[in-house]
């Protein structure tokens, strides 16, 4: 906080993405010192590999969550979609490598359908994203609890390799996650629907009045988010070798992914933010987890540290946003002031 007030001019010129990576760098520095005092090396290939492994599952979900938050909605159904996808994949594959493609496609297909329903409920029935996806999550969780008592199905060895191998210290799963992130960035910055996502998240009324069909970006974001949650489910199925009805909800991925997205500098109200920032947020979480594991911090205290870091980090951005704000604009004038402008230039370009 003192930093924010002290050199406000430099600080306010930094974009939130820069701050995220500064925080990540700080975590890295603190982490390497702390890990060194514990007599281990933070930069050993094994440790780097374990940090990157920790980024992949949350990374998939957070990428999808970024799109949904950018469009002004939320997705609380992701952990249940993740569990469902892991069950479908493991069930269809049934330890036969000939079924891998069918399992993957079916799992992602079902996830996409769930995302489609989420999007339709949010954009068509005008239900707040929080409630729509909370309800959808509950519906799926009831289905899972009724039909699956424990782990189910089995993934074949060749599929399990995806979760277990890596190029040097970089696990394959992280590379797939980064590829998905690149695709999502391409979508956001190079396609029409990507620009529409920012516009609708910034101010749906203005977006509608400038001729955007609000449904399209909202549904697209929700479908992609659910498919990403499905990818996370596939990865977990590949790591565990079985599908599990509780693997998603145990991870608490709904709230953690939202926290990672906001930690990455994306506005919770939508319309402002980036995938790059989200990846930084996920990396910070993974490094924190790793440092605390190496330091053998009590697992319950990990949650305490996580909670405090989330709030403090977001408080720093929020501070910066106030510094940046022109005085004549009110509470959320910031996004309203900028979004119509960018929207217009895009319209002209198109």
């Amino acid at each position: 906080m003192n930093k924010a007030r002290g050199d406000g001019s430099i600080f306010s010129r930094l974009s939130s993405t820069h701050i995220v990576y500064l925080v990540a760098l700080l975590t890295l520095a603190v982490g390497s010192v702390l890990v060194a005092t514990a007599g281990r090396s933070f930069f050993s290939p094994g440790n780097i590999s374990s940090i990157l492994t920790g980024t992949s599952v949350l990374g998939f979900i957070a990428i999808g969550q970024t799109l949904v938050i950018l469009v002004g909605s939320l997705d609380l159904s992701v952990p249940y979609v993740t569990s469902l996808a892991s069950l479908i994949a493991a069930g269809v594959m049934a330890n036969n490598s000939a079924n891998i493609l069918a399992g993957v496609l079916l799992a992602l297909g079902v996830s996409a359908v769930i995302g489609l329903f989420n999007g339709l409920i949010v954009s068509g029935l005008k239900v707040h994203g929080f409630i729509a996806t909370l309800g959808m999550g509950l519906i799926i969780s009831g289905f899972l609890a009724t039909n699956f008592k424990g782990s189910f199905g089995q993934t074949p060895f060749s599929f399990r390799l995806v979760g277990a191998t890596g190029l040097g210290p970089v696990p394959i799963s992280t590379l797939i996650m980064l590829a998905c992130a690149a695709l999502a960035m391409l979508l956001l910055h190079r396609t029409r629907v990507g620009h529409q996502i920012y516009a609708v998240g910034g101010n749906p009324n203005v977006a509608r009045m400038s001729g955007i069909r609000i449904q399209t970006p909202v549904i697209t974001a929700h479908v992609i988010c659910s498919v990403m949650a499905g990818m996370a489910g596939l990865l977990l199925a590949s790591r565990l070798g079985v599908g599990s009805p509780t693997v998603g909800s145990q991870g608490g991925y709904d709230l953690l992914s939202i926290a990672a997205v906001v930690l990455g500098g994306t506005l919770l109200a939508g319309g402002k933010g980036s995938i790059t920032g989200t990846l930084g947020g996920v990396l910070i979480f993974a490094m924190m987890d790793n440092i605390m594991s190496v330091m053998q911090v009590n697992p319950f205290l990990k949650d305490v540290v996580r909670g405090i870091v989330i709030v403090v980090a977001v408080a720093v951005y929020a501070r910066r946003r106030i510094v940046n704000r022109p005085p004549r604009f009110g509470h959320d004038g910031h996004s309203r002031q900028e979004m119509p402008g960018t929207e217009e230039t895009q319209e002209v370009r198109a």
Binding site: L138, G142, M209, V311, A318
Partner: protein, 368 residues
């Protein structure tokens, strides 16, 4: 505009423009906040149709007692939601209070009162922190209370090692478990029912006070409320404190019902939000009645009871709850929308979009 109305004139004008009592009542039932009472009556009727013994006074009053903790939590959550914020830390506060009671009171009856005071102080303090970080540091309340939820639960589990332990004195557990015996007709009035009635009356009164009016104004449009001179930050902070205090009361009642275990209170925040939303309160603030929020909790609980009696597997509870809230909120969104369109200038909506694009665009950015 120079002439000001005296209060008696004002009420006379109001009376003149008011519809009859009956018509106003019927109109209120058509709003989402009123419809939840219709839903509740329908659900209770359905339960009694399936299981007539549920309608007997003593089992009915027990049902109210059983629902009291969640209804009180919903009332607390209402204050935060109507001010346009979220309180996700509620479940962890309940857990923390339950564990505090279990560990600090022990078998000693003399410690009941001091520990109760400590619990209320803790609750108020957590609400204060949530509120101040949200309003002064401008962190979205979703994130603040999420952080608080993680941190509190982590601390509680660290303290207890994740296992059930401690058992408060019987006199303390009586608050949630006991009641006034020997009442005619009802047989027994459980203390939770009395506490719920007191909390509901207090909340009702508070929402009619200037504080309640300001809270709703701050939830509807914080900028406008601030410009009229309302201390929005302090109004909202007090809403967070009320929410945490309500969670504390729920926790005290739950000790009697469920005993001391770190899993008591898990998921309470989402159940409370569901109840509030089912009561027609709009997420984002500014709309809804506090007693409708409590009625939402009762509707939810009677829905579960009905499913139980009908013989639906308990694992389907979640699914039904999920479907119900989506349908309820979709219906409410339709009603509020119609109301808005009906009262606000209808011409704006009817303008042809193509030609008026430029001017509308301009209007949209400045006026909204």
């Amino acid at each position: 505009m120079s002439r000001t109305l005296t209060p008696s004139d004002r009420s006379a004008v109001l009376q003149q423009n008011r519809a009859g009592r009956g018509e106003r009542f019927l109109r209120a039932l058509r709003t989402p906040g009123g419809a939840v009472f219709v839903l509740l009556v329908a659900l209770l009727a359905a339960i009694i149709a399936v299981n007539p013994s549920f309608g007997e006074p003593d089992s009915f009053i027990r049902f109210i007692g059983r629902t009291a903790p969640i209804a009180i939590a919903a009332i607390g959550q209402y204050f935060v939601i109507v001010s346009g914020e979220f309180d996700l830390s509620m479940g962890s506060v309940v857990t923390m209070q339950v564990i505090t009671a279990g560990n600090l009171i022990g078998d000693d009856d003399a410690k009941v009162i001091p520990v109760l005071l400590l619990m209320f102080a803790l609750g108020a303090f957590i609400g204060l922190v949530n509120g101040l970080v949200t309003t002064l540091l401008r962190v979205p309340s979703f994130i603040v209370t999420l952080g608080m939820m993680l941190a509190l639960l982590g601390l509680v589990l660290f303290w207890t090692g994740g296992a059930a332990q401690g058992n408060p004195a019987d006199s303390f557990r009586q608050i949630g478990r006991g009641g006034i015996e020997g009442v005619p007709v009802l047989g027994v009035i459980p203390y939770p029912v009395i506490i719920l009635a007191a909390v509901a009356a207090l909340a009702f009164w508070l929402m009619r006070r200037p504080y309640g009016r300001t809270l709703i104004a701050a939830g509807d449009n914080p900028t406008a409320a601030a410009l009229t001179g309302a201390p929005v930050w302090w109004v909202k902070t007090r809403a967070f404190m009320l929410s945490s205090l309500a969670a504390t009361v729920s926790g005290i009642l739950l000790v009697g019902y469920a005993g001391v275990h770190p899993s008591v209170g898990r998921g309470y925040e989402f159940t409370a939000i569901t109840a509030v939303v089912l009561g027609g309160v709009v997420l984002g603030g500014g709309r809804g009645w506090v007693l409708s929020a409590a009625a939402g909790a009762f509707a939810l609980e009677s829905l579960f009871t009905l499913l139980n009696f009908v013989g639906v597997q308990s694992t389907w509870r979640d699914s039904v709850q999920g479907a119900i809230i989506i349908v309820a909120v979709a219906a409410a969104a339709k009603t509020w929308q119609r109301k808005r369109k009906g009262t606000a200038a209808p011409a704006q909506e009817a303008q042809p979009p193509k030609k008026a694009k430029q001017s509308e665009h301009h209007n949209g950015t400045t006026a909204r």
